[in-house]
């Protein structure tokens, strides 16, 4: 692929989150498109707060400084729905009152108006992850791996510009885990999305084959190596 512009990707600039005055962590990072940054840390080290800050859900009890910049645009004060940052949780969180297809349709941007086109997109997405024919199913009847795949496609159909993954594979059993993980990473790279992966499974980090950052509250806990983007491996 062509050279990425210097400002492309997700930049966390001097991000620091405090709770009741006590610092949780500090981080300084640049994730270029198609790259995966794996964040690891103890329970309570602030992994969820970091994701909340990047996605725009941080509660006011936390004090945060620093900026979130996506493809050169400062998102720090942009409301969550306008950030175009896709989010995947530990559990797939398919909306239980909708069918599989409705879950996907919900995510497709309104700019695509044609009903048939929207439907086509959603069906294609299902097909892409090997779930053709599941469109009218009740999400509760799908297996864990199937649900995660639908959740992934729901996230991608919204045309995000970055992906945040909050231990999305932890609820899957060993066999499925590798398959689903590869699928997620493959699609993220294919879409040139910068990915922030939070996990405490070292295997996830290894599979991401990118940089791994250990979150802690020590000063200068940044991943400065990322400031100069370099191709790590496996980019097409």
């Amino acid at each position: 692929m062509s050279a990425t512009p210097a400002h492309a990707g997700l930049v966390l600039e001097g991000v620091s989150v405090r709770l009741d005055g006590a610092p949780l962590f500090k981080i300084d990072c640049h994730i270029p498109p198609g790259q995966i940054l794996t964040i690891m840390g103890e329970s309570g080290s602030g992994k969820s707060s970091l994701l909340d800050f990047v996605a725009g859900f941080l509660r006011p009890v936390f004090e945060a400084t620093g900026r979130v910049i996506l493809n050169g645009e400062d998102l720090t004060h942009v409301p969550a729905p306008e950030r175009h940052i896709g989010l995947m949780f530990q559990s797939p969180l398919l909306f239980p009152h909708m069918s599989v297809l409705q879950n996907l349709l919900f995510a497709i941007p309104p700019a695509i108006k044609s009903r048939s086109e929207r439907r086509q997109l959603a069906l294609q997405a299902l097909d892409d992850v090997g779930l053709a024919g599941f469109s009218d199913r009740d999400p509760a009847t799908l297996s864990g791996g199937q649900q995660t795949r639908v959740a992934l496609m729901r996230t991608l159909l919204a045309e995000p510009k970055a992906l945040l993954l909050d231990e999305p594979f932890s609820s899957l059993d060993q066999n499925r885990r590798a398959d689903v993980r590869d699928l997620v990473f493959r699609l993220a790279r294919k879409n040139h999305l910068p990915v922030l992966l939070v996990t405490h499974d070292a295997e996830d980090g290894a599979a991401a084959s990118g940089m791994t950052h250990y979150l802690n509250k020590e000063q200068g806990g940044g991943c400065s190596t990322f400031k100069q983007p370099r191709v790590v491996s496996g980019d097409q």
């Binding site: 859900f57 969180l93 909306f95 009152h97 009740d138």
Partner: protein, 566 residues
């Protein structure tokens, strides 16, 4: 990211005004006359005269003691029955079955329940008739004091029968949260008995959610009017019904004294709340000391049985009372000791439907509007506050529950004056507004917990795919909460239907509901008609609860995860 600035959001301001405005204004309208100031009636000076007159009233202390005692004992008894039953039986088939019985009982208005109970347990009532004369030898009803006993025992029983379903459903809602089952498993795996597990592991977690409803029950029970009028003592009566009588006395000076009495009522209810809070502390300290004791109490069979009995008894009493109301509606003549009417007549029932149709429609219109507005406002408030990420427990909660923690009569008199001054008295809108003040807190009580329990990640997931705030609310949050929203609507409608004093005082008699009709008819001696109207009071709330149960099952019949209570 939306920031919580110092500027409060619109729904918070709106609701705080809606609730505190009338309550405070009403309270002022009570306090001033209590100190002898009521210029419109020609009382211009501040004086202790009304208070002195109040304190000189014969039997005042007895009335105060009755209000305090019956209210507090009935409330604590109700909570004990609910908790012991829940501790012993939660998760069993018996529990499920009784739950199904108790939920509709919540829709029975207080007055209707009291009327039915009176038919059942009076010396000439159904129970005595069932066993007379063949077993008791009674050809005539025995002259035994059961109803209106001077100690208020029957009244306490009536209050317990009515408050148990309410507290039970509140407890049920509190237990309906993730991981509660795991605590039961944890307790059992550590060798604790079912009841010990509940009291040591589960209750401490869910009690904070039951606490506010419990306080509302105490405030209500210590100042109840309609149940006291039907089942309570009269020599003397508890404070609240006496206040209403003074307020309605054609003698003007009694109105000042009634206002002073209303302040006393406020004090009595506040004292009852205080005593309860102290008791609560003591019990929790005692309980905390026992956490570490390691007693497992695995053999709790007897305690469980003791917990089951009162609950079954209450369900049986309430069901029988309502059944009895049903029989009375078609009974023309029913002489003692016959167990069934001698002469039946459907005429009067049909008559009443003709005459009562108008009242039923007015009741329905007010209930649907009040419940609809209250539910919508609650959703608005919850959505706005969670959007701005304000904490769930805050001062707003205290304000929302203000109308529930203060006896109605302590500010209703003043409120009536206010509406009169504003030229609103007797209008549909005024009654609707008055209902809203009392309906909204219950709507908030019913909905705020399900709202806060809704996994916030659904909203995040929706936002992360670009859904707007409106879209998240209408397409994700509202459908996910459809069941609790409908239950809230039904609860709110039931509360509206049950309002007697606000309808009467603010409606100036022009707004006639089945409840005002029912109390007017209960003042006569015709049981057939009294029973009929008591049942009519039940129709709307019951319909609401049935709809709340049916609609979600129909709407989500193909969605497995939505069938679970959430």
């Amino acid at each position: 990211m939306p920031q919580s600035t110092g500027r409060p959001d619109i729904p918070t301001v709106l609701i705080v005004t809606l609730l505190t405005g009338p309550v405070l204004a009403g309270l002022m309208g009570t306090i001033l006359p209590a100190f002898g100031y009521l210029p419109v009636l020609g009382y211009h000076s501040i004086s202790p005269e009304p208070l002195v007159a109040l304190l000189r009233t014969p039997g005042l202390m007895a009335s105060v003691a009755l209000s305090f005692g019956t209210g507090l004992i009935a409330s604590i008894l109700s909570l004990a029955i609910v908790l012991i039953f829940t501790a012993g039986w939660s998760g069993t088939r018996t529990f499920e079955r009784l739950t199904r019985f108790l939920s509709p009982l919540l829709s029975v208005p207080h007055a209707a329940a009291a009327i039915g109970l009176a038919f059942l347990i009076a010396p000439s009532g159904f129970l005595v008739r069932l066993v007379s004369p063949w077993a008791t030898g009674f050809e005539r009803p025995p002259d035994v004091l059961i109803l209106n006993d001077p100690m208020g025992i029957t009244m306490t029983l009536g209050l317990v029968a009515k408050e148990v379903p309410f507290l039970f459903l509140m407890t049920l809602a509190a237990l309906n949260r993730p991981h509660i089952r795991d605590y039961y498993k944890a307790g059992a795996s550590l060798g604790y008995g079912r009841m010990s597990t509940f009291f040591k592991l589960v209750l401490p977690q869910v009690y904070p959610l039951i606490r506010l409803p419990m306080l509302a029950v105490i405030a209500y029970a210590t100042s109840v009017v309609d149940v006291a009028q039907i089942l309570g003592p009269t020599t003397p009566a508890p404070l609240a019904p006496r206040l209403v009588a003074w307020m309605n006395d054609p003698d003007l000076t009694k109105r000042l004294m009634a206002s002073a009495g209303a302040l006393l009522q406020l004090l009595v209810s506040a004292l009852a709340l205080l005593v309860y809070l102290v008791l609560e502390r003591l019990v929790s300290a005692w309980q905390a000391a026992r956490f570490a004791s390691g007693h497992r109490r695995r053999r709790d069979g007897f305690a469980r049985l003791a917990g089951l009995l009162p609950m079954v008894l209450i369900v049986a009493l309430m069901t029988a009372s309502i059944g009895l109301l049903g029989i009375w509606t078609v009974a023309k003549s029913w002489w003692f000791p016959a167990a069934l009417p001698q002469r039946w007549s459907f005429e009067r029932m049909l008559d009443a439907f003709g005459v009562g149709g108008h009242a039923l429609f007015a009741t329905l219109a007010i209930a649907v509007l009040a419940a609809g507005i209250a539910t919508a406002l609650t959703l608005w408030l919850l959505e706005a506050r969670s959007y701005r990420k304000l904490s769930a427990r805050s001062r707003v909660n205290t304000i929302v529950f203000l109308p529930l923690l203060m006896p109605q009569i302590s500010f209703l008199f003043g409120l009536q004056m206010l509406f009169l001054l504003g030229g609103l008295s007797g209008t549909f809108e005024a009654v609707l507004l008055a209902h809203l003040i009392f309906v909204f807190p219950y709507a908030y009580l019913a909905l705020s917990d399900p709202w806060h329990r809704l996994d916030p990640r659904y909203a995040k997931a929706a936002a992360s795919v670009g859904a707007s705030r409106m879209r998240i609310f209408w397409q994700i949050q509202l459908p996910l909460l459809l069941r609790p929203v409908l239950v809230t609507f039904a609860v709110a409608a039931a509360v509206s239907v049950g309002q007697y004093l606000p309808t009467l005082m603010i409606g100036a008699g022009r707004i006639v509901t089945v409840t005002t009709e029912s109390v007017a008819l209960a003042s006569g001696g015709n049981r057939q008609v009294a029973a009929l109207y008591a049942l009519l009071q039940l129709v709307i709330p019951l319909a609401g609860f049935i709809l709340a149960a049916l609609v979600p099952s129909l709407a989500f019949r193909n969605r497995a995860a939505m069938r679970l209570e959430r």
